[in-house]
Amino acid sequence: MKQGAKRAVLAVSVAVAAVFGSTAALAQAKKAEAKKMEAPSKGGEQFFPVLSYRTGAYAPNGVPFANGFVDYLKLVNARDGGINGIKITWEECETGYATDRGVECYERLKGKGPTGATAFHPLSTGITFAVTDKSFVDKIPIITFGYGRADSVDGTVFGWNFPLGGTYWDAADMLVQHIGKKEGGLDKLKGKKIALVYHDSPYGKEPIALLQERAKMHGYELLLLPVTHPGVEQKATWLQVRQQRPDYVFLWGWGVMNSTSIKEAVATGYPREKMYGVWWSGAEPDVTPAGDGAKGYSALVFLAPAGTGAVHKDIVKYVHDKGQGTGNKEGFGEVLYNRGMVGAMMTVEAVKRAQIKHGKKPLKGEEVRWGLENMALDNAAIKRLGFEGFMTPISTSCVDHRGDSVAGIHTWDGKRWVIEKGTTLVADSTIIKPMIRASAEKYAAEKKLVKRDCAKEAG
């Protein structure tokens, strides 16, 4: 490099450093000022890690979820002054839905705050698999409501995982039951063809075991059609749909994969009325890019359908009207926003519950686990919290980390999601329970884990 060019580079880098330095100083000053304005919280702080993805192929779904999650935390601080006087603090970390970055975020956030992380919502089944391993050492609960490992319902083996409200096995079971009902009985499924179009990752592969089990029982044929990450290229998959003409298509996608699937279905001429998505494939970002073509497409809906309720009014009043809203009301009242809110609420309630046992102070992840294992959210509590219509009651125990799993079906009418009235789906535990036990036993054997003795811990 020439001498002059070198000098130029030096000058530029000095200038950049100066700009960075001065903004940093300004920001510090602002922060200090903000701290002074805020009344010192008496009770201490409870730290909530937020793993989110606001960039990449999954951002359309990640953004509203993260906004809902953070908005609810803001609401609890603004309206209630924290959890029984304990202020909530949080930090977001961008995972981009990538497992390695997710694990890095987990490591980054697990020790923050006075008592470490409260509980993690990995929001990715891949990240869940990776951090499940670490939870045994770190003793921090991992809440995977409606996703994650299906076998982690078993609290004696998976001491730190909480698939609250449902797993993919439940979801798959519900979908089979639903189409069975439509056909006029599960025995009518004999000889039918069901295609599973799935994201080729642990997320998409989870339901396969159950669908195969059910296929053995009812005699339908299961077509497995994987779609590779990120799912924008599905021509080959839908060519197979066109050739095989399945009677139903189950969609197990996430991010741009969902809308691409629906567009491909339109292009292939596959009727959307015969397509059913899992609860992660049934939000606004999944259907709006496909335009009118998405009309008639249905998906499962569990916890948090679209719409607004009492809690939304509070969020508008305490958060958005004060200019504190996350992301310009992006996705406000949509399926994923509401689901993020429910996720935050369940964590906050778990902390509240744990405070009964451990006292009103900042709690460690290990203490919060007690709250998650003894959750008792009945209809009265849900109503009091303003979540009426957005949640079903959940009660958990040391053995059962899931609680009850109930879901419905909603259909896209071209403008919004309409809930099918009178459809309440409950997974058949006689099929799922033995599968959970077998899978959890295998996990314990491979990891050489010692199982928890729940009876002893309670006593």
Binding site: F20, T23, C93, E94, R108, F129, A150, K205, E446
Partner: protein, 354 residues
């Protein structure tokens, strides 16, 4: 002034052939080892170990492996993550099916299996060169991705294709805390670096370099290209296979086929390009650059207290990281190792350059 070899005479063959002929280099290396073994375990936090140091040590090993075939033998490979996957799944199945084996034996066997697979995928290198070979090695990547995702036996029929392992145990020592993992990996890496260093100084390494520099000339002076190219692929795959087994067992603990995707292959290649082709030191630099820099860049705004959203921080991370890659390649196309060497040259003349 300080870095000068005046007065250091070599009076025996042994001293002439030693790995670090200059006293100051030996002292520096000794100091580095003391820091790595004695100081780092006391100062580093769990985050530093688990997110930066442990993956760094394993990726450095993988980069050395790739450097042997690409940097030393001149055969481009775009599919080395596949051999990492072979190593990882081989180790997983060995531990699962032969639980009485010692982990070190498993590690070597996994490496050997990866070497055998690497040998097979190295065969095209006998007929094709350069970019064409690079494309041919992509076959390894896609084949292995397919194999481990679709053939259930390899994943012990796990219902979601994700496998998990128990903590590593070596002679009764259970390697499960971050510090223990770090020390274990450090020892493995040092042993393998020493072997690689001696390999590239031996006749085998010289054959590889001859093939790299001009294969026709090498053949004329009596080097068999078949032997040289295939040994390079085999040794390289062995290293990468061992790294893959460590990546699975020590770093991840549970993984899915996606963990060894094409992205990882490309990252390994970028490591040796940025770090320096045909340089073991470069493998270390490259691994550090590609692995650590994005993570650090991502945290810079938060550290400085600049209030920007996490999305903005990750966009900035991509932009600055990309710009830095371009910057370093313009300043020194031969990689960070070459910059280091230039620095050393300058230091020898300092403070009186000509």
């Amino acid at each position: 002034m300080f870095y000068r070899e005046n007065g250091q005479f070599k009076s025996s063959y042994a001293s002439d052939q030693q790995m670090l002929p200059i006293l100051q280099d030996r002292l520096f290396m000794a100091g580095l080892l003391v820091i790595a073994f004695a100081a780092v375990p006391f100062f580093a936090t769990d985050y530093l170990f688990l997110s930066l140091l442990i993956p760094f040590l394993i990726l450095a090993l993988a980069a050395i492996g790739l450097n042997l075939v690409v940097g030393y033998c001149g055969q481009i490979s775009l599919g080395h993550a596949a051999f990492m996957a072979v190593g990882a799944y081989a180790a997983y199945n060995l531990v699962l099916r032969l639980p009485q084996l010692n982990f070190l034996v498993v590690l070597v066997l996994a490496g050997l299996i990866a070497a055998a697979v690497g040998l097979v995928f190295g065969i095209p290198s006998l007929r094709i060169k350069g970019l064409y070979l690079g494309v041919a090695t992509l076959a390894a990547q896609f084949f292995m991705d397919w194999l481990f995702a679709r053939v259930k036996w390899f994943t012990n029929y796990a219902h979601s294709g994700s496998v998990q392992t128990a903590p590593v145990e070596v002679f009764g020592w259970i390697v499960d805390t971050p510090v223990e993992k770090y020390l274990f990996l450090l020892v493995v890496l040092i042993v393998f670096t020493l072997i690689a260093k001696n390999l590239v100084r031996s006749h085998i390494g010289r054959e590889w370099m001859a093939i790299r520099d001009m294969d026709v000339a090498a053949e004329v002076i009596g080097i068999r290209p078949v032997y040289a190219k295939l040994t390079a692929f085999a040794v390289s795959s062995f290293y990468v296979g061992v790294a893959g087994a460590l990546w699975g067992f020590v770093h991840l603990g549970s993984w899915e086929p996606l963990a060894f995707s094409l992205t990882l292959s490309l990252n390994l290649l970028f490591m040796i390009i940025i770090g320096g082709m045909g340089s073991l030191l470069g493998s270390y630099f490259g691994a550090a650059f590609i692995l650590m820099l994005p993570i650090l860049l991502n945290q810079v705004p938060a550290m400085l207290g600049v209030p920007i959203s996490t999305a903005m921080a990750s966009h900035l991370e991509f932009m600055i990281f990309g710009a830095l890659i371009v910057f370093f390649l313009i300043v020194e196309p031969h990689g960070l190792a070459r910059l280091w060497a230039i620095g050393k040259e300058k230091l020898r003349l300092w403070p009186f350059p000509h």
